[in-house]
Each structure stands twice: as C-alpha cells, then as structure tokens.
C-alpha cells in the first residue's frame, strides 16, 4: 500500500507536484497517468525517498520508505532502464544489488530467468537493447520479492512480445496480492493492464478512481453528424428531443448529437431531405477521457500557445 498525502515539491519558484493525495491499494494494478512534465517521476522519486518533499508525506506500507536501512525487500522499482553501468554484466549488476540487501545469489539467476535474460546474463549491459534493459530493470525490481512494485514507463522500447509479457507479469504480481504502481503517458497501455487510475496534470490530482469509472467520464459520447445544412438539421434534432452542439468552432458543418441514436438521426434527416456526409457513433474511450481531463494541464503543447 502506498499512501501519498498533500505531497508537494517546489524547485525554486516552480511547483512540480502540488498537494497531491492518493492511495495505491494492494492486489490491484494502479496506473499513474499524466502528460509529460505532469510530475509523475518526481512523485515516484518522493515515494522512494530519493527526493525530499517540500511539504506533505509519502509512505509505503505505513512508513516512509527512507526509514528502511535496506529497501529491496520492501519496494521494487524501475525508474529508468538506463540507470545501469554499461561496463558490467547483468549478473554482476544484480549480484551487487542482491548482496547489499543480503539476498541469496541464486535469486539473481531466478529473476534473470524470469525476465528472459538468462542467456544474456554474462554479457555487458552496454550492448543491451532498450527492451533488454527494461527487462533487466524489471529483474532488479523483482529481486527482493517485494510486496510493492513501482515502474516508470515500463513498456518504453519493448517489442510487442515484451509488452504482452510485461502486461501479464503485472497482472500476475497484482493477483499475488502485491501493490503494483505503473506510470505511463500512454493511455492505451493502461486500458489493457490497470484496475485503478491516478491521473495528474501539472502536479495536481485530476482523478483517482477505478479505470472503468474514469473511462465513463469521457463526455464526448454521442453521434457525430456531418451535413451541409447543419443549422436546419440542428433545429430538427432539437425538436426531436436531442441536444446538439457544433463540434469545435461554431462555423463547422459537423454536429455532436447526444440523446438520439444514430439510426433515429439518419431517419430524421431522410424525412427532412437533408443530405448527410457523416454519421458516426462515438463511444467513450479512456483516451478521450484522458485528453479532455488533461487538456488544461498539459505542460508542453505542440502548435500555438493557448
């Protein structure tokens, strides 16, 4: 269990994490989502006691992580797969970590086997692909058989087979009763893995709820209708009890209709003799919910300044 309470981190005048509070429960996979620069990595570092919070607290299993003299049996973490020395072999890297925590040497072979790196165990890490380094990072996290696991962008650089593997691993770790906390900026990844979501933007909490509830918040459900006679159709649809909004700017010829299914809209347009260029039912998706909720809190945005 990870508990974050009013956590705040300021660097000079810039607030990276702003009064963040949430709980990550055991036995579930919890996704930690936010656009780039939202403060995800800073939050993870504070949970791990690497960075001291400006205010607030973060505890793992009820105590600040830094209070443990040795950490691997309490929390396994993969922050960045590049945090290795390229000159060492995978075995040497893991052996040093295992030894520092009094973990038996055979556990190193076990985790290397588990992540599929048994063959590459004695090769220098410098020659590893990013996907292999990610696997080594996962092996590092598993080394102490910890009840809490944290992964920062774990699927970066993995091939499709690797992504499937790591997804199954996360599910299995959660099923074993462990707390699994994954950060990502990829919504689609969460859709397939997470039970719960913690969503942040610009260091502030946007949502902390089960994934299903979050997806349902995607408000742009409805039917998209494209027609050259938008105003006329809008009036007819409103009369039939639907609510109609122009999509995007007001002069567009596309409407978003809620309250009427696509077949009824089509029938109505046919009766009025209005030509339709597009008729698309839009379902709520995690992606759209995410985009909508974080639209105002994106740190770095392409294109024009808003």
């Amino acid at each position: 269990m990870i508990e974050v309470n009013e956590l705040t981190k300021r660097y000079g005048g810039k607030t990276a994490v702003d009064q963040l509070s949430f709980t990550v429960r055991p036995g579930r996979v919890t996704g930690f989502l936010g656009p780039n620069g939202a403060g995800k990595s800073t939050t993870l570092r504070m949970i791990l006691g690497l960075d001291a919070p400006t205010a607030g607290t973060a505890t793992v299993g009820g105590v600040p992580f830094r209070s443990h003299p040795r950490g691997l049996r309490h929390v396994g973490a993969l922050l960045d797969a590049g945090q290795v020395h390229g000159g060492r072999s995978a075995v040497a890297h893991l052996s040093a970590l295992a030894r520092s925590n009094g973990i038996p040497r055979r556990r190193v072979d076990d985790v290397l086997h588990e992540v599929g790196l048994a063959e590459a165990a004695n090769r220098r890490i410098g020659g590893f692909s990013l996907g292999m380094k990610q696997r080594l990072g996962v092996a590092t996290a598993l080394l102490g058989d910890p009840p809490v696991l944290m992964f920062d962008e774990p699927v970066n650089g993995m091939d499709p087979e690797g992504v499937l593997w790591v997804r199954r691993l996360f599910r299995r770790l959660a099923a074993e009763g462990r707390t699994v906390f994954l950060s990502s900026h990829l919504m689609s990844e969460m859709e397939n893995t997470a039970d719960d979501l913690v969503v942040i933007g610009r260091g502030r909490l946007i949502a902390a709820e089960p994934l299903r509830d979050f997806a349902a918040r995607g408000t742009r459900r409805g039917v998209v209708v494209g027609t050259p006679r938008a105003a006329e159709l809008a009036a007819a649809l409103t009369a039939a009890g639907a609510s109609v909004e122009p999509e995007g700017s007001a002069d567009t010829e596309r409407l978003v209709v809620t309250g009427l299914p696509a077949d009824r809209i089509g029938a109505l347009a046919f009766e009025k003799g209005i030509r339709l260029d597009e008729l698309t039912t839009r379902t709520a998706s995690l992606e759209s919910a995410f985009m909508e909720l974080t639209a105002d809190s994106t740190e770095y945005q392409a294109g024009q300044a808003r």
């Binding site: 429960r25 055991p26 036995g27 579930r28 570092r45 791990l48 006691g49 690497l50 960075d51 001291a52 299993g61 992580f65 830094r66 209070s67 443990h68 003299p69 040795r70 950490g71 691997l72 049996r73 309490h74 929390v75 973490a77 922050l79 960045d80 590049g82 945090q83 290795v84 020395h85 390229g86 000159g87 060492r88 072999s89 040497a92 890297h93 052996s95 040093a96 970590l97 030894r99 520092s100 925590n101 009094g102 973990i103 590092t140 102490g144 058989d145 910890p146 009840p147 099923a175 074993e176 009763g177 462990r178 039970d195």
Partner: protein, 274 residues
C-alpha cells in the same frame, strides 16, 4: 463482483539484518566487475615502479661517505604524481559514474541508508588502493635499491627513515583515492571532480613557497607536500631560511584530508536529493 479479493502475502518481508559487511561486499562486486579496474591498476603499478627504475639508472651522482637514502630515486615525482592523479580519478570515478548514469538511484532504492553506501564505497576504495600503493611503494623501493646496489648507493629498509618513506608512499594512493571519492560525491560531475582533484592535490602545492610562514603553512597542509616531507629522511638544515613541515604534522595532514572529505560527503549525501 468479479474482482479478485486481494491475496494476503505469506512471504516474510523482514529478511536478514542490515549488515555493513554486505554493503562492503556489494561495492567490492561493483569494483571487481569492471574490466577497467585490473587494467588501470596493473598499468599504474608498472609505470610507478618503472619510473623508479629509470630515475635510479640515470642517477650518476656519487656522494662521498656512507650511502644515504636517495628518495628521489625510489620515489621520483614523475611516478608518484601520476599515482596521485590516477588514484584520485579512480576514487572519484566509482561514485561519479553512478551519478552520471543514474545508477545511484537504483543503489539508493536498494539501500536507503545513503551514508552507509558512501562509507562502504570508501572502505572498498581504501582497501584496494592501500594494496595497490603498497605494491607500488615496495616495488619502487626494491627496484631502485637493486639498481643503486650496483653503484654501492643502496640502503636497506631498516635504514633510518626509510620505512617511513615506504609507508608514506604506500598510503599516498588510498589518501588520494579517498579525497577523490569525497570530491566525487560532493561535485557529482566527472569533469568538475577530476579538475578539482588535480588542482587540490597537484597544482595547489606548487603555488606556495616555503619562504614565508603563512605560505609554508598552506603548503604543508596539502597532501603532496606532506608526502614529500615524509619521504625525506634527513632533518632540516638549521641554517636554512625556509620553513620545513614537521613529520607528525604531515601524518596529520595525511589523515585529515580523506577523513574530512569523506565525512563531508556523508553529511551532504544525507540531506541532498538523489
């Protein structure tokens, strides 16, 4: 509800007690597992002993009377300044490379007791470089005396002051390696650490002459000046106008530099974000 109830974990989280011995062993694995470590050490020892051989072979001076200890043959500056440079850089590299790659974060998650990690690194560095320094120092002495014996200018290790010179030259390596390690933790950047190490250990002493009291005091408080004093077996000439460092003072300088830099590193590492 189809959600699975959380399975209580049966494995104990306690584990064995946190032992410094394990941290030392872990840091030793890290040092040993880099191919550059044995190579650098072998080449350094070879160069240092070689410099003593060359200095002895080219020393044609004939001194009347019984043979005295020729420290400039056994411990020539060319070899030992190189030893200072390499030991301090290697000591620094052990920590700076972890900061550079971010490995320090992995290390700190594994061992949240940050001060203990610095102390374990310091212990491994001290042991390793004391061994390297001892081989280099004894090797330099034996090779130079073997060459000088041909000219009847050799002295045994029991000659007054010679053992002190051997010991001081052996300890020069761990002293500099530990100063490098301390600076590495404090500065974290490779280039900044190397430059500072070279400046403090090699360049700074040459800035200060021994003709003025204050200038001599500054010089004597620096590591390479202390080493120079400790390998000299003769007593200062009472007629000389220069201020000479004391032997005990030079030993204290030897002890204080690594102690202070490592202590400062431990203090800073506990308060700073990783």
């Amino acid at each position: 509800m189809t959600t699975l109830a959380p399975v209580p974990r049966t494995t104990s989280v306690a584990g064995p007690p946190a032992r410094s011995r394990d941290l030392f062993a872990a840091e030793w694995i890290k040092t040993r597992s880099l191919r550059s470590t044995p190579w650098t050490i072998a080449l350094t020892v070879l160069f240092v002993i070689g410099s003593a051989a060359v200095a002895s072979m080219t020393d044609d001076a004939t001194v009347p009377g019984p043979a005295g200890f020729r420290h400039y043959d056994a411990y020539p500056p060319a070899g030992y300044w190189t030893l200072i440079l390499i030991a301090s850089s290697m000591g620094a590299l052990g920590v700076v490379s972890e900061y550079g790659s971010g490995l320090i974060r992995v290390t700190t998650v594994a061992v949240p007791a940050r001060g203990s990690v610095v102390l374990a690194k310091a212990a491994v560095t001290a042991v390793l470089w004391t061994a390297v320094g001892t081989i280099a120092s004894l090797g330099s002495f034996l090779v130079s005396q073997a060459v000088l014996a041909g000219r009847h200018a050799a002295v045994p290790i029991t000659h007054p002051g010679v053992f002190r010179a051997v010991a001081a030259s052996a300890l020069l390596a761990p002293v500099c390696a530990l100063v490098g390690l301390g600076l590495g933790v404090l500065l974290r950047h490779a280039a900044a650490t190397m430059v500072t190490g070279v400046f403090v250990l090699l360049m700074l002493p040459t800035m200060f002459a021994e003709s003025d009291r204050w200038s001599a005091d500054v010089k004597h408080a620096l590591v390479s000046a202390a080493w120079k004093r400790l390998i000299e077996t003769w007593e200062p000439d009472p007629a000389s106008l220069a201020y000479t460092a004391t032997v005990s003072g030079s030993w204290i300088v030897y002890a204080l530099w690594p102690l202070l830099t490592v202590a400062l590193a431990v203090l800073v590492v506990r308060r700073r974000d990783v």
